[in-house]
């Protein structure tokens, strides 16, 4: 229970169904850390005391047992540190997926089993069914396509899914709010949270800089040059981790035509910029691929592939490679800003086939 409307509604929904439930909030980050980022206010950030207060209040209203459990060190180890090293390596990570794969549906699932819980229910917008013919758990997009969160769930194994419930997958956000109102939950009107919970105001580069200051390490000197695709120096930049592929703003270069980040090269401390067309790619390789609704592919398969959360899944063909953990994706039409570190998630209509990390 994050203290938000979705997980609160899940608790209310399950209780109404007569399930025996226990509410839990993961303490993921110590709000006393990096105080310069919060500007004195820790609102809108995960695990703020306000959110814990809300979750506890909801649990009290529903009269269910409720606990806050400490996952700070696991979150730092499995999410924050990889998040930072990915940026410093010139990639653009998806921390929510790291959290799902290695904290929420891993160690937290184990803790839930430890206290005697059979399943963990979350407020994710995704549908989950067991197909008795194939013997697999199948995942489908949430019916509310604007809230669908399957992009962040592609890494879940069949074993993890067997212990998971997504009660909101069949509901639209508006229906969830109606449900919360109907149940009299105090968070019914609470605004939706932002995307990366531990990064206030979306300033991930500021977070990385502050984290390094806290650790007493000077951030790897990543200050360097901005160059165009032919290697011509266009300007200077304050660190490659400030840039992500496809980014247009914040380059500080005035030219006649709009310029975009095409790639970052941390080793050379270079940011490469170019025209919009330079961002188009026909294919990608996904690594550490996890298959959900279908077994690992052995032959080419048609699919729609999403290369970032806000991307409209594009028609493509999936090709197996000699390495079973890697899948080649060839798009029917070139796609803009295929970004290393992001996930490529494979769909067949609503069905989530699987996904992997863009190399």
């Amino acid at each position: 229970m994050s203290g938000g409307v979705d997980s609160s509604a899940v608790a209310g929904l399950l209780q109404r169904r007569g399930e025996r439930i226990v509410g839990m909030t993961m303490q993921l980050w110590n709000q006393r850390r990096l105080p310069e980022l919060s500007g004195g206010e820790a609102t809108g950030r995960c695990c703020s005391l306000d959110d814990v207060y809300d979750a506890r209040y909801v649990a009290e209203q529903l009269q269910i047992p409720y606990y806050v459990v400490n996952f700070e060190s696991r979150f730092e180890q499995n999410v924050i540190k990889p998040f930072i090293s990915e940026y410093l390596a010139g990639r653009t990570p998806v921390p929510c997926t790291l959290c799902n794969n290695f904290v929420k549906f891993d160690e937290f699932l184990d803790m839930a089993a430890g206290i005697g819980a059979e399943r963990v229910a979350t407020g994710h917008y995704a549908r989950l069914d067991y197909n008795s013919e194939t013997g697999r758990y199948e995942m489908r997009r949430g019916v509310d396509s604007s809230k669908d969160q399957t992009y962040f769930l592609f890494g879940l194994t069949q074993e993890q899914l067997s212990r998971t419930l997504f009660p909101l997958g069949d509901l639209r956000k508006a229906e969830v709010r109606d449900l919360a109102r109907e149940l009299g939950l105090p968070v019914a009107e609470k605004p939706d949270s932002q995307e990366i919970c531990f990064v206030p105001n979306g300033d991930y580069a500021g977070f990385i800089d502050a984290y390094f200051r806290e650790q007493g390490v000077s951030p790897t000197e990543t200050v360097g040059e901005i160059v165009d695709t032919s290697g011509r120096v266009m300007g200077e930049h304050g660190g490659v981790h400030h840039f992500t592929v496809g980014q247009r703003r914040g380059l500080g270069i005035a030219t006649g035509e709009p310029l975009y980040v095409i790639a970052t090269e941390p080793a050379q401390k270079r940011v490469i910029v170019g025209r919009n067309d330079d961002l188009l790619r026909n294919s990608l390789t996904a690594c550490d691929v996890n298959w959900i609704s279908i077994p690992p592919i052995v032959t080419e398969v048609r699919a729609q592939v999403k290369i970032r959360n806000k991307h409209n899944a594009a028609e493509a063909t999936l090709y197996p490679t000699s390495d079973a953990s890697r899948t080649e994706v060839r798009f029917d039409d070139p796609q803009r800003a295929v970004t290393p570190g992001q996930a490529a998630v494979f769909y067949s209509g609503d069905l989530v086939l699987g996904g992997g990390w863009i190399q």
């Binding site: 226990v22 814990v52 047992p65 806050v68 459990v69 206290i115 005697g116």
Partner: protein
Amino acid sequence: MHPCYFDHNATTPVCPEVMDALIPALTDVFGNASSVHHFGQLAKQKLEAARRQVAEMLRCHPSEVAFVSGGTEANNLAILGSLRRGGAAGKHIVTTAIEHPAVLNPCGQLEREGASVTYVRVGASGIVDPDDVRRALRPETVLITVMHANNELGTIQPLKAIGEIAREAEVMFHSDGVQAAGKMPINVNEFGVDAYSVSGHKFYAPKGVGVLYVRKGTDLEPLMLGGHHERDRRPGTENVPGAIALGRAATLARECLEQDSVNPGALRDRLENGIRHRVDGARVNCAGSERLPNTSNIYFEGVQGEPLLIALDLKGFAVSSGSACSSGAVEPSHVLTAIGLSREDARCCLRFSLGRSNDAAQVDALIDAVAQSVAHLQRLAPTTCLTH
């Protein structure tokens, strides 16, 4: 079965005898103890009677008892109050690594104000070596502060030996007695302490009242500014009902401890023997050390304390693990790492603290529940604690 409470080191319920003293104190004795009229005089009389009761428990003169809001304030007053007279800069404090945050954080604040602090280590016994305290002394040492009994382990510190060292060196000696008061006999003169902190709610008085014993002649700068209450040591209208309740609880505790027929550690031993017998890989921390008769801190091999605590709570048994941070999540204990446990092993421990409400049947039921829950957790993740 009713929920069973095994967390008496966190707090205790107000007992019936204290309630009987408290209720009329809230209604009939409402006067301001500083007022001249007879309402005030009655309150003053009750306040002083309570002070005498506390003095009897501590074996001191009533004038040496200052009522405060609780253990945290008592510790802050003793530490900040003794260092800040004339400024803290350049002064030195000796304390231990296993103190409560209400001691460690005032010491940390004084470090920021220019004082220096030595945190004496304790070793696996959970008991500080007085010779280590002696060796930590410097010419500029003005305060030794060592807790009487540790809240997590129950280990009892050698106050008498440290008191002699302090007297010899002519250094003020404060002890945080919050966990000891009510659980073992106290004699401030025998211990040689100049200040001693007590909290009412740890022994069946309500929250919000405590005592700082201050030896006659000990100069403390008050933490707050106001009237001349409590001999200029603590301004603010006296919490007369709280003091009355604390006084009554002090008398009860003293009488209880004087009954020779009762073995106060019998239930604790029953619990430890039962768990050792039934649970593979269970180990009592500081088992061989002199400990409070009610406190047991147990390491469970391969089992995280956090899910174990929750599983036990869902079965109706309230125990504790580490200390709670502001959200309510549990933080790994600095005390357990101080006695040599790794951070990982420190997460595999639970504290059981017994009290008047517990009986043998409850203890036996607790042993059953612990054995079941530990077996379940060990089955799920036999190496959870070992692989982190």
